[in-house]
Amino acid sequence: MNRQIKALGVIVIICYVAVFAKLNQVQVLQAQAYSDRPDNTRQLQRDFNQPRGDILTADGKTAATSEERRAALRYQRVYPDGELLSAVTGYYSFTLGSDGVERTYNEELAGRTPSLKLHRLSGFFSDTSSEGDVVLTVRKDLQETARDALGDRRGSVVALDPRTGAVLAMWSNPTFDPNLLSNNDAEAAAGAKALYEAAPTKPLLPKAYRERYFPGSTFKVVTATAGLTSGKVTVDSPTYPVVTSYTPPLTSKPISNFDGNACGGTLLPILARSCNSSFAQMAAETTGPDPMIDAAEAAGFNQPVELDLPRPARSVYPTDFGAVVSRPEGSAPVYEDTPKLAQTAIGQNDVRATPLQMAMVAAGAGNTGQIMAPHVMAEIRARNGDVVEKFAPFPWKESMTPEVAATMREAMVGVVTGGTAAVMATPGWEVGAKTGTAQLGTKPPRSHGWMIAFAGQPGQPAQVAVAVIVEDLPGVSAATGGSTAGPVAKAVLDKALGVSG
């Protein structure tokens, strides 16, 4: 029997070595892979049981903080201003996940980045924890101005610093109260989420960077840029006919100017008066599709957006207009979809843009054609206030050459001094703007009112760029954008510049 007993011992050892090997695999070799699995909430659970950094606004106010509770989860996320900054901070929920800065800067807030850990080590004998505070580029006072100016109307406001890409304000109405979603009481949080999700106005969606709209006439800035860049349009020529409507080739459907107005002329007057007929003709007959596609993509359309917030929507411009049908003398070739091309020139048909995208269009024109990467993080601080990381601004797109940018700036300033955006004029500042009224194609007609603008000192890069959309207004008229979105943009611009209005 002894031989068998010895052999049995060997069998037992083999079995136990197999368990030991498996333990090594699970606990060491693949431990990280297991911990990184999306359905593994252990990291999250630990995060809710240790302090988390604050989110601070650029003007030093607390946007999000963690309060200690005597409960199963030790820390509860609290947003002192409720709805005000939710489009930026997002929420931080144990059961619902997270969004906004809470999501993109989770590692920093939880104190897991190498720089924060290193900083903690350098404070050797202090027992400070390593969580970091995120300081935003967003100003609370500007955010309040945007909220108050928009009021109860549905819409979004984005304000940028064109020189750095820093987001100064980002507000959408309706929005949500992150306190309700971040409630550690899972049932209450789920209830709040269900209620928000049931609302047709999608309050959970940060529409400023995640919802796309017809840009309407604000897109004429891109069309004008396409014309200038192609070399076929200058401030002197061509001169578009003064008409009430333009009918592109291959269709009998005319593109009309608002309110039956007749308008036309060279680039500056047609931008100032926002002539639909002229810009439709410019795209259809002067430039053709390729300069339009190039200009849209140079401004950021059809590209993943370089933004430090989760899942920004990419704005879209069509890239295929079919085959060449004919090549008329003295005009761009006619494509199968030239009628569609004509409509895209005025921001209709298959063009969609986020409010953030349109703010960047204005920012590019105000910043010699450079679109800086938009961002909401200014710096990361350790708990003792030391800055451990600063956002280094970098150019994202060159939407136009400096020469074209100079012309576009002049043209957009003309829209304020002698055109549809007169409401934007601010003494002491050079303000350029473009209004927009995006037809929704509904009956009775409804539209989005738009205003994009920049402001700065003459000859200097603009200091602020804004985009405002007021959604789903009754009626369609040339004045819609200027009269609805205009005052909101003006209030935000003035506040950002420190002009007392």
Binding site: G9, V12, F20, V26, Y34
Partner: protein, 450 residues
């Protein structure tokens, strides 16, 4: 072979036995003190981890712990003086570590587990008292077999049998519930040992031809096959796969060790594979276990939840663990019974799980040494059976929790929460201790040489 004559009066031990016994008991006492220190440290750390304070009941805890272990130790001194010195301390260590983790998970269960530990120690002492000569048990092999079968059938009886979590392995009498299967294991080990020792000569000689194979005469198999088949059928009806596997291993390994014929092992493997395949085909719960084993992520919130959470707990523990009391394993269902190994893995890491693994390996090694030292076939084979029960039960559940094997719910001996399991394992331990003691008394020179 006949059972040796039994004298009521025990002969005076020789001086060599006395010296050996004294040495072994001193070693045991030292190891027990070490175990107490480890358990106490873990208990304090777990409380520090959870509440940042020492446990309020640390002194009563220490007093009870010492009382129980010193009690068992004194029983060894009086009743099994020459027994091996490792068995009790290892069991105590496992029991204590298990208690610390149960207390950290659920205070109410911990209080119950403490009571069961006391009952277990009493059962240990009673077993040492009752079984003065383990060879006597050979006489009662058929009785043991019958008791084993009865214990297994008990939960299936209407009125007292109860089904908990799909397994009908419980018996309720008044307020007390227990799993008779835990005791049936020991009864079967006694039966198999007794029966196989009696028939091993016959079973190891191949006289009967089946086609090209020579096999022993089938009539010698009958009782064993019957016992084995009956236990398997009952266990499948009770849906307790882990125990079924354990019984099967017990049967095959004891048959192999008793006869020395590897063919039993191979045929046993074949039988097992056929049985596994047939039950996989015919039982939905078996299919579910297997598919969860292959891919738990197919149903992460349902059938795969438990094993996935166990893997996450183990992974989260890493090499050195997150610290006693600092894990977040409360989310694993049955964390204090089948899955306590995952909790230990989370809080003590690979170091902790390896320590538990080593403790079981040491226990198994000691058990097999006891079996090998014993010159009597019956005690030797019984020691093999008892060791197989502990070693492979631990292997089945540790392998199941780590997804090395399909998960079959059995307790981790001495560690998991569970009264029946704990008391039964202490009885089992007492039998091993008794065998070891008797061996040393009969052949002290040989034992000294070891």
């Amino acid at each position: 072979m006949t059972a040796p004559a039994v004298t009521r009066r025990r002969p005076e031990p020789s001086p060599a036995v006395v010296a050996l016994g004294t040495r072994r008991r001193t070693t045991e006492l030292g190891l027990l003190v070490l175990a107490v220190l480890i358990i106490l440290g873990a208990y304090a750390l777990a409380s520090l981890g959870r509440n940042a304070s020492l446990p309020a009941d640390i002194w009563p805890f220490l007093a009870v712990l010492l009382a129980l272990l010193v009690g068992a130790h004194l029983a060894n001194r009086r009743l099994a003086r020459a027994a091996d010195s490792l068995l009790l301390p290892i069991a105590a260590l496992l029991n204590g570590i298990g208690y610390v983790f149960i207390a950290r998970l659920d205070q109410d269960l911990a209080a119950l587990q403490a009571s069961w530990t006391a009952v277990g120690i009493v059962a240990y002492v009673v077993t040492l008292l009752a079984v003065r000569d383990v060879r006597l048990l050979q006489r009662y092999r058929y009785t043991a077999g019958l008791i084993g079968v009865l214990l297994l059938i008990l939960p299936l009886l209407p009125g007292i049998g109860r089904s908990i979590n799909g397994a009908r392995i419980w018996v309720s009498v008044g307020p007390v519930s227990f799993q008779p299967g835990e005791f049936a294991k020991i009864a079967f080990a006694v039966f198999f040992a007794g029966y196989l020792v009696e028939r091993r000569e016959l079973l190891s000689v191949a006289t009967f031809r089946v086609g090209p194979f020579n096999t022993p005469d089938p009539k010698h198999f009958a009782p064993i096959l019957l016992a084995w088949g009956a236990s398997l059928v009952v266990l499948i009806f009770q849906r307790d796969l882990g125990s079924a596997l354990l019984f099967f291993l017990l049967f095959v390994v004891m048959l192999w060790v008793a006869t020395g014929r590897v063919s039993y092992l191979l045929v046993g493997m074949g039988l097992f594979l056929v049985g596994a395949f047939v039950s996989w085909l015919s039982f939905e719960h078996v299919q579910k276990r297997v598919s969860v084993w292959i891919d738990p992520w197919a149903d992460p919130q349902g059938s795969g939840y438990q094993i996935i959470q166990a893997a996450y707990a183990l992974a989260w523990g890493g090499t050195s663990g997150v610290g006693p009391g600092l894990g977040i394993a409360e989310r694993i269902p049955y964390d204090e019974t089948d899955f306590i190994f995952a909790i230990i893995g989370e809080e003590l890491g690979l170091l902790g799980t390896t320590a538990i693994l080593c403790a079981f390996l040491l226990l198994a090694g000691t058990g097999l040494r006891v079996a090998r030292e014993s010159r009597d076939p019956f005690p030797s084979l019984l020691a093999v059976g008892l060791t197989v029960l502990i070693a492979f039960q631990a292997f089945i559940i540790m392998g199941g929790v780590t997804r090395l094997l399909p998960l079959t719910g059995v307790t981790l001996p001495f560690v998991s929460y569970g009264g029946s399991s704990l008391v039964a394992n202490y009885v089992l331990l007492a039998l091993l201790v008794r065998i070891s003691d008797q061996t040393a008394r009969r052949a002290p020179e040989r034992a000294v040489a070891m």
